[in-house]
């Protein structure tokens, strides 16, 4: 951390050398992670990631990154604000609330599965479940709840599950993400998500970072790409393109298709780990889902 702060004060040439050094250190470190202080490494990742965007968009307040591309593009922000004035996802929130309160056939409800009766807890997802040794997202937890109560799981990309997720997010507005990496096993999932994020894939040979870090804020085909910082905070979303609600993993699948990579299963291990990594990187930002997107 101190190293990074010092490099910031140096001139450009020196910065490059230092950053390369850090980079090499990071590479060397990941090869031997079990022996290392993974918490410090995660913290270093968060600092590097967030300061990348601070440098790229120096005018943008940190708290604004919860608003996706609208944090950095004034023209589209104006249209977005008009949508948010009376957003189509209000129907989803109502429908989600009705579903949330409807008892299962055994008489129990979703509220019985979650802390605080399921209210104001969106920011606690995803988390690493040490017993199951896997990342649990909100959508997975909702379906786990259903199955524990003898109900069939819901489809993961849209519909009832997206509405439930929208309602649960709506009760958590303003709460901050503080996603933790508590163990070596958690660090393994985190690292897999990180590797996914930086790996180039698809016929177009793009990584998440290529579009949402390197060229974030620039035009890629017809659209300005959003900053990766804050990606999970506004989901689920009502997308104008879909003309309906969709979950984060639906969006991941769409992104993968855009670069002509075959999407991986929603709520499969790869996307959950990616969501975990992205949520850790977005630490400190507020929940503002559901929201509307283009």
């Amino acid at each position: 951390m101190r190293l990074v702060k010092r490099t910031l004060k140096m001139k450009s040439g020196a910065i490059l050398v230092c950053l390369l050094t850090i980079n090499c250190m990071a590479i060397a470190d990941t090869g031997n992670k079990s022996d290392l202080d993974f918490k410090a490494m995660v913290q270093q990742d968060i600092n590097d990631f967030q300061s990348f965007f601070k440098k790229r968009f120096s005018q943008v307040e940190f708290s604004e990154y919860k608003n996706g591309v609208y944090a950095i593009d004034a023209a589209s922000r104006e249209q977005w604000l008009e949508m948010e004035d009376f957003p189509p996802y209000e129907f989803a929130v109502d429908e989600g609330e009705a579903l949330f309160e409807e008892p299962f056939s055994n008489g129990k409800t979703y509220a019985d599965c979650f802390a605080n009766g399921g209210e104001g807890i969106r920011q606690n997802y995803p988390y690493f479940d040490s017993k199951k040794s896997e990342v649990i997202t909100l959508e997975l937890a909702i379906n786990n709840c259903r199955q524990a109560n003898g109900e069939k799981p819901l489809a993961y990309k849209k519909g009832a599950l997206a509405n439930l997720s929208a309602y649960m997010a709506s009760t958590s507005a303003g709460n901050s993400f503080a996603t933790e990496v508590p163990s070596v096993a958690a660090y393994q999932s985190y690292s897999e998500g990180k590797e996914f994020f930086y790996s180039k894939r698809g016929q177009l040979n793009f990584s998440c970072a290529d579009c949402h870090m390197r060229v974030a804020g620039q035009k890629l085909r017809a659209d300005i790409t959003s900053p990766a910082l804050g990606h999970p905070t506004g989901f689920p979303v009502y997308r104008a393109k879909w003309e309906e609600m969709g979950t984060l993993h639906r969006r991941y699948a769409g992104c993968n298709k855009n670069i002509r990579a075959k999407p991986l299963p929603a709520q499969g291990r790869a996307y959950r780990n990616l969501e975990y990594f992205q949520s850790v990187m977005s630490q400190g930002l507020e929940v503002n889902g559901p929201s509307s997107r283009k």
Partner: protein, 99 residues
Amino acid sequence: MKIKAKVKKDITKVKMLIKHAMETGRRKDQDGNVIPRLYITEVSASHNGQPVFHAEVGQAVSKDPYIAFSFKGGVAGDMISITWIDSSGATQTGEAAIK
């Protein structure tokens, strides 16, 4: 249907969001069959029973239509009633009190 009505300095602004697919007849479903056209054609609003707004709309209106209008003379607590009808003749009425 969702209705939000707010009065400020004698001007009441009424905003509505109607749940409706607004099918243009140009979209196809997953099996490639054309989804028949079905869209809202008219929306009427009344304030304490007096007509205050009427719109004719076409298929160019977005899915889940949003329309807003303003009128004078509303007071907090007054009822706004909105009714729409679509190309199949289906209709729905919603009500909200002015805030």
